[in-house]
């Protein structure tokens, strides 16, 4: 499969995530859109890793080129898991105080 299709798919998903971050006000949805962005980059990394692997395979059948891309995805998942635990703790803390997950809660209070 041409690598450009994968790049295109990943950037489309990434852009959808960016639009979500920019247009929604619910903190949880924004956070989910960020997760979508991370997943888009994960897909891109795996596709690139297979691309480099395929290129190296022609020269050497036992090559390990491309492993680092997939391991990077593994570490992204590690970080995402840690981020989610902290992020949801912050959101729950805020919800406890103001009973809302609107990111502009204080602005709304002022108006």
């Amino acid at each position: 499969m041409p690598i450009q299709y994968y790049i295109a798919l990943a950037v489309i998903l990434f852009s959808i995530g960016v639009v979500g971050v920019l247009t929604r006000r619910n903190a949880i949805i924004i956070f989910m859109c960020i997760e979508l962005m991370l997943n888009a980059t994960n897909l891109l990394l795996v596709a690139f890793s297979k691309m480099h692997h395929g290129a190296a395979l022609a020269a050497d059948a036992a090559t390990k080129v491309g492993v680092e891309g997939q391991l990077f995805v593994f570490f992204v998942m590690v970080v995402a898991a840690a981020e989610v635990s902290v992020g949801l703790a912050i959101i729950v803390m805020m919800y406890r105080n103001v009973h809302s997950v609107d990111i502009n809660f204080l602005n709304r209070l002022k108006n």
Binding site: M1, P2, I3, Q4, I7, A8, L9, V11, I12, L13, F14, S15, I16, G17, V18, V19, L22, T23, R25, N26, I28, I29, F31, M32, C33, E35, L36, N39, N42, L43, V46, A47, S49, K50, M51, H53, G54, K64, G66, V67, E68, Q70, L71, F74, F75, M77, V78, V79, A80, E83, V84, S85, V86, L88, A89, I90, V92, M93, V101, D102
Partner: protein
């Protein structure tokens, strides 16, 4: 068009559609479910790319643990009503336009990347995505980042407890 190609297009279309639905859904629970579907389709792509370890980890960690946590928090807050405050239509339009132009920039970059024209992502074959290959590299060359990410988890744990605990 072989089965693989067909699957690729099917999964891609489904993932873009469900990603859009994450945005459009008013009900947060629906958003979560659509996002789970996105993660499933991305896992499907991993299978096509023969990244079996990431396929299973993506299902367990992302679609399983992380999204269930989201769902749990949303249900805890009882947000399943359409209680979300809406941004004004102009803000939404501005967000959509800036996201669209970002996409345009990326697409033009991809199209003008001439050295990528002929390159292919290897489908179905290639054994780097298997767990023995990844595991060997992880515990030899990547052992430092692996150990250091424990600090990350420690700080996340300490933080989540310090912030989540009630008085």
């Amino acid at each position: 068009m072989g089965t693989t190609q067909l699957l690729f297009w099917l999964l891609s279309a489904l993932s873009i559609f469900s990603a859009m639905m994450v945005l459009i859904s008013k009900n947060p629970v629906h958003s979560v479910l659509w996002l789970v579907l996105v993660f499933f389709t991305i896992s499907g792509h991993y299978i096509l790319l023969n990244a079996q370890f990431l396929f299973i980890v993506n299902l367990i960690v992302y679609a399983g643990a992380i999204m269930v946590l989201f769902l749990f928090v949303i249900m805890l807050m009882n947000l399943n009503k359409d209680a979300e405050p809406q941004k004004s239509i102009w803000m939404k339009l501005a967000g959509a336009i800036s996201g669209g132009s970002l996409l345009l920039i990326f697409v033009s970059v991809v199209r003008s990347a001439s050295e990528m024209q002929s390159k292919q992502a290897l489908l179905k074959t290639g054994n780097i995505g298997l767990i023995d290959q990844l595991g060997k590299t992880l515990f030899s060359e990547y052992v430092i980042p692996f150990e250091i990410s424990s600090v990350l988890f420690l700080s996340a744990m300490v933080g989540a407890v310090a912030i989540g605990k009630k008085h």
